[in-house]
Amino acid sequence: MNSKSNQAEPGDGAQPTDNGMTHVARFDVFCRQYIAPEGDVVADLPKVANDTELLTTLYRQMVLTRTFDQKAIALQRTGRLGTYASVLGQEAIGTGVASAMRDDDILLPSFREHGAQLQRGVTIRELLLYWGGDERGSDFSGPRHDFPVCIPVGSHFPHAAGAALAMKLRGSNNVAVVIAGDGATSKGEFYEALNIAGVWQLPLLVVIANNQWAISVSRKQQTRARTLAQKAIAAGIPGEQVDGNDAVAVYTATLEALEAIRAGQGPRLIEAMTYRLGDHTTADNASRYRDDEEVSHHWHEDPISRLRDYLTAQSCWTKEDEQSLLEECRGLVEAEADAYLATPAQAVSTMFDDLFEVLPDALKLQREQAIEAVQGDQNG
């Protein structure tokens, strides 16, 4: 299925009527899907699907993301990690989007985009440091210009527009890529940033990981709009849906959008349809507000088994490959978790040291007091 959103210019298809009304605008939203559950191919595959190395790389990265996710939850359950937001079931979005990006693009992730961050080069140890309550996790070794995760929902959309403005002012052909959830599209910042990006034709890609739930508020309670993609169209920006559990579709949609943006065609929005298989965070209990049957149903759409089924059907993936990948991922995650757990704590003074580039004199006394308080504790 070759699809794109189509925004008619005002006046296109104008149909004078006999009641004084003229049809001034018409919009369509399309949804892209290539590989359905059980690996069924439902549309002509894009060229990238011929690149089996790319597809297996996407697959491996999704499995690594899930292995990390399971370990993070296990660490939290055993008191060795803070509250953590699982990305279970949404791995194709982070992997697909970030795989289509270039290093010198900028990623602005929400708090559930571990997959995208891993793909960008943030290490598992760094992710665990952050979720374990250590700021150094956001001083990561991934692209140094990437943003840390955004916790206040949707407040990073304007940052993405600002980063995109910097690219446009420099005349680079990089793109700022912001990822947020469905709930974020109800926020004012979303509309404000999209609107300005449209006016200024900024190199901005907005990806909405629509996992159907904003904690306990369902997608239908979030907005009456038929799609979230159409909200971009309201700002004069093409918006399309993609099956967010079809890694090939996510990757292809992202790549096409990035190419269009790099070619100067202005911002794009992709609404990636997925489902949050886990709780909102480890502090949440989703059984309070949604039925187990609904969750079971969505396991059928799992992005990982879907791509594995496809690769297996193409004779590109064997049980032995699977076994060795799982071992490799577990080994890596365990080693990184050990490194995380062995990381010495920060000195108390660090809470002052990066507040400003140079600590103002007015804060020096408080810094000394904090150090003294710790020394006092240590001395009994």
């Binding site: 956001s138 910097a166 809470m351 007015a362």
Partner: protein
Amino acid sequence: MADIDLLGAVNLALARAMQDDETIIVLGEDVGANGGVFRATDGLQEKFGATRVLDTPLAECAIAGIAVGVATQGFRPIAEIQFAGFIYPVIDQMLNHASRLRNRTRGRLSCPMVLRAPYGGGVHAPEHHSESPEALFAHIPGLRVVIPSSPQRAYGLLLAAIRNPDPVVFLEPKRLYHAFKEAVSDDGKELALDQPVCLRQGRDITLVTWGASTTEVLSAADQLETEGISVEVIDIATLSPLNDDPICASVEKTGRCVVVHEAVRTGGFGAEIVARIADRSLNSLLAPVRRVTGYDTVIPLPRLEAHYMPGQKQVVKAVREVMELS
């Protein structure tokens, strides 16, 4: 060297900074062709082009958020909020992001931006145009809050704010925009931030203030001098981080203090100054410390506004009372 008013000094500093540093951009509502509703950015778009002086859609939160984003990528944005009464949606961006980015990335990303806004009452403006929200910003760690009180200080402090590597909220007392002129040399020299300024030396009492209230405080000091009361006046200029050394040194010299500000009293920044004095200089005090401030009410519409603003009379009265108590 021309005599210019505070608004002219803001404009001069913006032009000078943009001339000296190509990474500086200005963005906000009506800042381009219109030169800002007060004309603070007058002529800048003509001089530096529409890619450096950007008219934004009407979206305060995004103006600040875009400034955050572009600041992380090597630019130095100066964002204008048209009136401080419209600045509240921006607090989220300044509090959750601009002020925290350096700290939360342990120095990897920083946010060298200036958020400018005209603030304060006394110009018979419509509803929501006269607020003094400085204490809201002074409560945010990682943020500087700077307020000028004269054309020279507006020029020097704004240059310093723009060149500072961290985010600065620069509140311009709009009552002083055209209040008086003085000679300002366009020499590109900045004034030190975090440094209260002694506007007048005296022996008997210390008056601490900032922004437009310096006008009433200085005129009260003149009046009190004729009554034989020698008044020291300190303009704190940078509210946060507050360098209280000069304040406490002055109070330890005079033994008396009145703090004057236009903002509402409860939780106003005057409370912080009084607390610092209580903490460091209590034993030097000869009398209780008083505050002369706006009331804990909504600032009225223009017909009652004059009754809200703390004026010279109230300052003189408070000083006399403090003198009598000692």
